[in-house]
């Protein structure tokens, strides 16, 4: 099986190089297409840590969604196409309403009295691409 190798590059080697380049280009087109390989922007609603709903923010344009937990009822409504906000809540603090609109992956609205968290995941990451927000 063993033999002495050809030590001078030739036409056939160029074909291998072209094949690798073609493969790279092909894979680039597949995985870099649109830059959103992680999927579309999705809102995930959890109550006390358990997921209770998952939807695309655009779905809210048809009708707002209402959630009740821990004795609190809050309504989530669409805002400027891709964004969403808690439009009303009967919680005493109103922090969730005051949080305003969220529209980018990683942002969230928290309603402590209701123990509900609405978080945006997936989609084109926020240009800042942070993992945790403090303050």
């Amino acid at each position: 099986m063993k033999r002495f190798p050809e030590l001078k590059p030739n036409f056939w080697d160029v074909i291998v190089v072209l094949a690798v380049i073609a493969l790279a280009a092909l894979s680039a087109m597949t995985v870099w297409r649109g830059g959103t390989e992680t999927g579309t922007l999705t809102a995930v609603v959890t109550a006390d840590g358990q997921e209770i709903d998952r939807f695309a923010p655009a779905d809210l344009l048809d009708a707002p969604r209402t959630y009740s937990y821990n004795g609190v009822t809050l309504t989530v409504a669409a805002e400027d196409g891709n964004g969403l906000r808690v439009s009303s809540s009967d919680c005493p603090t109103q922090d969730c309403v005051r949080t305003g609109t969220i529209s980018r992956s990683g942002q969230s609205i928290v309603c402590l009295p209701a123990r509900i968290v609405i978080q945006l995941i997936g989609g084109a990451a926020d240009s800042s691409g942070v993992d945790i927000v403090i303050g």
Partner: protein
Amino acid sequence: MKRFSILILTLCLCLTGCGKQTTEATAQIFAMDTVMEVAAYGEHAEQAVKYTEKRIEELENRLSRTKAHSLVSGLNRDGSIRHLTYDYWNLIARAKEYRDATNGAFDITIAPVMDAWGFTGDSFRVPEQSELDTLLKKVNSDAIQMLGSPSDSVTLGEGQAIDLGGIAKGYTSDCVEAVFYDHEIENGKISLGGNVFVLGTKPDGSDWRVGIKDPRNESGLAAILSLRDAYAITSGGYERYFEENGKTYHHIIDPATGYPADSGLLSVTVVADANGPDQEWVLPGNGTMCDAFSTALFVMGEEQALDFWRNGGYDFDLVLVTEDGRVVITAGLADRFEEVKDSGYTYETVS
């Protein structure tokens, strides 16, 4: 050849034996008036996160002032407590130390003043000056007497009450770090409201990117830090406040005046290294320190805060967001820090 196969087989077995199966576990915990997010990566991630939840529940039950049976409630009711466990005795001792270090800008005996403003029970009001003057006389944790072993007692001064809200979350993050080490977690994070602890790097090997919220814009960021094995804790007046007669009153009370601190700062972020695996696991560490100092330096204002950073004798770094639109970063963070485009802030590094 047979021997070689046996050798390979043994090696494979050995490798699978010592090889670690990394799993991810996350949880969302509602405690201490905030929502906490914990994520852990490692062989025992699942147990680590479960244990973290238990530990946080236990800490809240001991440190909360709104729970009647908590240690703090008991101490405030009786004025003294004996045979305190080592961990909580040290926590109160540390709080006294930070009070002295910051010349009273951080003080756990601020509790009666917090009550007067209604920040304890969410029934906000602006107290009379005479009322504040009376209450302020009680604010001084130097009056707390502490005896070590064997009595392990804490005795408050006449009419005093304490509130550990300024360090409870920081101490909790210290405890979570210890839980992570106990469970051999390699990468992990916990965020408790304004407090963050990150262990190691992200699972992909890059730094954790921690965004500091823009105090002027709820959904924006003022700065981004790249951190590993670190605490980052923010205090800001925008976190909790109420309005009365067109004036805004926030929850960080200056122990010197009894009024919400008005120092020209919008938020203070204190960053320090992780305690490391050698830290005795129940003792307050850098998490507690960051929490106390973020409050204290917010009260002090930019000039005093930077002076304390230079000469205070503690090892930490700062990100200050000022009312006049500047973000001031201390030198230690210069290469771990990113500006946020279009945030409207000007950035300056000081040394």
